[in-house]
């Protein structure tokens, strides 16, 4: 097997597993993606990961696309497509299959218990995502200030998050973090 094919196979296998573990959405598996991409496989540095996450956030669309970019960085265009497909297919097939069972048990107790039981896990995992992103992105006090302001604006106002990203990128272009 050629190394390139090997990388695609690895990407597919890892992201297919992540797809089925992503309770609460893609942000819950970002720490695991980071562990595999940076610490296990050395596809990229910590800073690269933070940059790709930021790009995925700034792009329109659902927020799983950090997977697309990790695949792209690891194995080019084919890697991006393989990672995207692997991130979507297993959870979509599961959803497609489960919706039929689910619709027959609208008020079932186990439905409520599963949802209520998974909620705190998801919050802890997304909390880990926030922690890892802060650790990678906030190299000095100016950048930490940007994180604090963006977080405050997102928490206390209904402003479209894109404005925070645009303002922070603008500050960077103006040389504020040089």
């Amino acid at each position: 097997m050629k190394p390139f094919t090997g990388a695609l196979g690895t990407l597919f296998a890892r992201f297919a597993v992540l797809s089925l573990l992503a309770f609460g959405g893609a942000n819950a598996v970002v720490p695991e993606m980071h562990r595999q991409a940076v610490e296990v496989s050395h596809w990229m540095t910590d800073a690269d990961f933070a940059a790709l996450f930021a790009i995925a956030q700034a792009a329109p669309g659902p927020n799983f696309m950090i997977a697309t970019l990790v695949g792209f960085k690891a194995a080019g265009l084919a890697g991006a497509l393989v990672a995207t497909a692997a991130m979507c297919a297993p959870s979509c097939l599961l959803t497609y299959w489960i919706i039929k069972v689910w619709d027959r048990h609208r008020e079932a107790h186990w439905r409520v218990a599963i949802a209520a039981g998974l909620a705190p896990l998801t919050v802890g995992l997304v909390g880990a995502t926030a922690y890892l992103l802060i650790r990678a992105a906030d190299r000095d006090l100016r950048l930490a200030g940007v994180t604090a302001v963006a977080g405050g604006v997102a928490y206390f106002t209904r402003l479209n998050p894109l404005w925070c990203l645009a303002a922070a990128a603008g500050l960077g272009l103006a040389g504020a973090f040089a």
Binding site: P62, L121, V149, G152, V153, C164
Partner: protein, 186 residues
């Protein structure tokens, strides 16, 4: 677009594709509000209660909520072809755009003042995710379920601080947390 007074007839795969394409392209930093507007207010494919219940289902399944929702809505109206049409409509254009952005980053990410812009983007993105976590945690803490705080803390510490593999954490904490929730809501 004029909204009909009664629920719309079941859409064809082509209409599902088109509707989810627009949703995928309009949502920056969160597609859900746009999906709700399209499904409930504009196309009237789902009622309000339907939407909330479908969302709750999508949130209990793995995968991004909005992607699961495209599968659920697509398959309810037009079977497997409908699900595929809605999914491709939703993610096709955003994935193409993000690949182009990723390529531009690889090529020009180190040029001129762009590294500064990317540093700023990363710091702001970290802030946005932090705000999301606080918003998600607030209702859990307000409800004071005994299991919520230790489960949250252990998941955070195991994955964020100790960097343990995610499957271990889910297998260790998932059953305990679901069992606790089961006992809380008899």
């Amino acid at each position: 677009m004029t909204a009909p007074d009664i629920a719309a007839p079941a859409p064809e795969p082509r209409e599902l594709f088109r509707a989810f394409l627009i949703v995928g392209l309009s949502g920056f930093g969160g597609v859900l509000p746009f999906a709700r507007r399209m499904l409930v207010e504009q196309r009237r494919w789902l009622g309000e209660a339907d939407f909330n219940e479908t969302l709750a289902l999508c949130q209990s399944l793995p995968g991004p909520n909005i992607i699961n929702m495209s599968i659920v809505v697509g398959s309810r109206f037009a079977g497997a072809r409908g699900a595929l049409a809605a999914l491709i409509g939703l993610i096709g254009a955003p994935v193409a755009i993000v690949i182009v952005l990723g390529a531009l980053y690889g090529r020009f990410g180190a040029v001129g003042r762009l590294p500064g812009a990317i540093l700023g983007l990363g710091a702001a993105a970290a802030g946005l995710v932090t705000a999301t976590v606080v918003k998600m945690a607030a209702p859990l803490l307000a409800a004071k379920p005994i299991h919520a705080v230790p489960v949250m803390a252990l998941a955070f510490a195991g994955v964020g601080l100790l960097r343990l593999p995610l499957p271990w954490i889910l297998l260790a904490l998932g059953p305990v947390s679901i069992a606790a929730a089961w006992r809380m809501h008899p």
